[in-house]
Amino acid sequence: MKHLVKIYVVLLIFIIFVIGFFSFSLHQTQKKLTHNIDTLFIAQAKELSQNIELKLHQEIDHDIYKQLEKHPQLRAKLENTISTMTTSFYKYIYVLYRDVHGDYRFLIDGSKEDKGEFREKFNIAKDKWDIAYQNQEPKLLYQKHLHSLWVTYLDPVVFHGKTEAIIAMDFSTKLPKSIAIATKPFSTTLVYVFLAITLLLFILFYQTFLNFRVKKESITDTLTQIYNRTYLRELLEDFDSEHYQVIMFDIDYFKQVNDTYGHKMGDNILRDLALLIKKEIRENDIFIRFGGEEFLLFVYRKEHDKMFAYNIAQRLRKKIEQTDFIYDEVSIHITVSMGVTCSPERFKMVSSAIKYADEMLYIAKKEGRNQVIHTPKLQKKHQVVEQYLTINEIKDAIEDDRILCHFQAIFNAKTGEIVKYEALVRLRTREGEIVAPVAFLQNIRHTNLYNDMSKKIFDIVFDKIKTHQIAISINMTFSDILNNDIFMLILKEIKAHQACIPFLTIELLEYEALELNDTFVQHIQAIKSYGIHIAIDDFGIGFANYNILQTLPLDTIKIDGSLMKDIDTSSTSFHIVKSIILLADALHIETVAECVHSKDVYTIVNDLGVTYMQGYYLAKPQEYFVKQINDIEKR
């Protein structure tokens, strides 16, 4: 719209300029024409006047008034002579004298109509005529107040140095009329062109206004009168994520509100909530109804205050919590859960920043609702992270080759031999401190750095396999497998290291609630087709379901560590683990008992017939490969 207005304004200025130019040209032409006519008129009038004066001098030698008073025939003769000179342009030609009172009276009138009689008083602008009379010089008088006359030419008649009469020629308005008629088509055309263009521009403006209105309606949610997802799609095409932080929120237990009070009440709450938020935010902020009871707020920030949106989200949450939504004397209290992306600049795409806020919203919901979450810190309650690394710190670590793997041995339960190692990524800070993946993986999950890190890990693992000829498992999330870039990277690495394939296991981490769609299964099958072992991690808890066993070509199941923690004290955990092992045996799938943290647990899972074991009791993750016999023997 702004661009269109600019175009229209430029167009209008251009048109006005062109029309102005033509008007000016026409004006100049008329001016020149007028000047030429004036010059021509004066020349002709002068010549006529000289002829009349010559005739008067031929007929009268002195005292013109007395001579003409005495000889009416002479008056008639002279009038006849002068009348031959009158035309439609020279409307009146006559001779006046000035009496003793200074009044002008007719001597001779050659006019064909409206003739003045001898001695008839003639009311004219005496002061102007007197100038010509006294100066004995011709004079041109423009008749601005006389509707049938244009101009009067005055020429004094001098006898022996004394002005005795004055010849007057009145020009009719026919000549200027003819000029006006001649130039009128041009000026009329200009006026019509201007009107047509003005009308056209008006129509264009109106059309633009209508388009704008339709467009506004298409991007506005009809219920809440805030932006809708159509607008969001357009916004994301050219969005400055540097200056906006993202808040995603939805109303807690909104379905219950709808079910209890009806959809009309639900609509009222949505509308009033939107109104409440609109009052609380600034013009620069962008407020969107994302869908249903879910809203998206882009918070504008001038300065790089990371917690700015978080603080706003907290304020909004409290405001909503304290507000009574009253309809038909029914007061309803609602709360909202909010997820915030404080550093959207970390993400390659804004959609990823929105997704991140959505993930945080999900955590806020999961953690009890009516709260604001901006980091995944609370995702795992018992995971304590001192400090999250910034994107730049992680980037530097990748570039400086400070990404490394620790390896935790996996033992054969029967023989006690180490059969493989699980590669666990770590980052070494500039200060030499080893940092766990919880401090950096989440921050780069939706960025290109994640791909770089994945490649780094593959390089480390393949290098270790080549050097030590040992089996190593590498962890991948469901999202990694679905992500085309990571999937292509895996295939590329596999193809480049064919000799390492028998030693490689990919462990699928199962902490995301992802559906096993066709793409995911196809990707796993593609990886499997190279002979790579596929294991599923954390099986038995969380999002695990038996459909995985049916759908994926699994070689190994890693039983979730939470079941191992209390297997020696909880009969439920014991029976779950037992049933998993029995099920896996029946399906010819190997099992790994994770988190074997004590001798009792070691003995129990061994007795249950688990294939492999892993845990701090057996071996901690180390930068080097532990020696199996020595380390077991130590215990």
Partner: protein, 140 residues
């Protein structure tokens, strides 16, 4: 010339309106000068084209009965012989009624011309204001 062209092109009716207004003003001044004490002046005229102008005069009432008139505004008639005050609208009529007419107002070559005859003004005991005295003629 330029201004005239503009006036001609944009306001063609302005001048005729101006002429009418001008005449109304002049007749108002003249009749008020003739009858300074009268609230309503009864005017008879033989030119009904003048009616439009006379209707616009606040102190004037048109009459169609000559004997009821305070003044006769003559444009055509040449055979009126009575003592009612006469005012004409041409120089020819002014000459024709020069023994009884108090004056005339007419257009000559596009210009307004006013003439009063002193002896007839005196006959009707009319004292013109200074602004009109310059139009007084001793004789034609």
């Amino acid at each position: 010339m330029q201004k005239f062209l503009l006036l001609y092109m944009i306001f063609p009716l302005l001048l005729s309106a101006f002429t009418t207004e001008y005449e109304v003003k002049i007749y108002d001044i003249i009749f008020s000068s003739f009858f300074p004490k009268k609230e309503t002046i009864a005017v008879w005229t033989d030119n009904h084209k003048q009616d439009e102008i006379l209707y616009k005069l606040h102190h004037v009432r048109l009459t169609y009965v000559m004997r009821n008139a305070d003044i006769l505004l003559i444009a055509h008639s040449t055979n009126i012989h009575n003592d009612i005050m006469k005012f004409v609208t041409s120089y020819k009529l002014l000459q024709h009624y020069k023994e009884s007419v108090v004056g005339g107002f007419y257009w000559k070559k596009g210009r307004p011309n006013i003439i009063f005859l002193r002896k007839n003004l005196q006959k009707y005991d009319i004292n013109l204001p200074t602004s009109l005295s310059k139009y007084i003629e001793e004789a034609l």
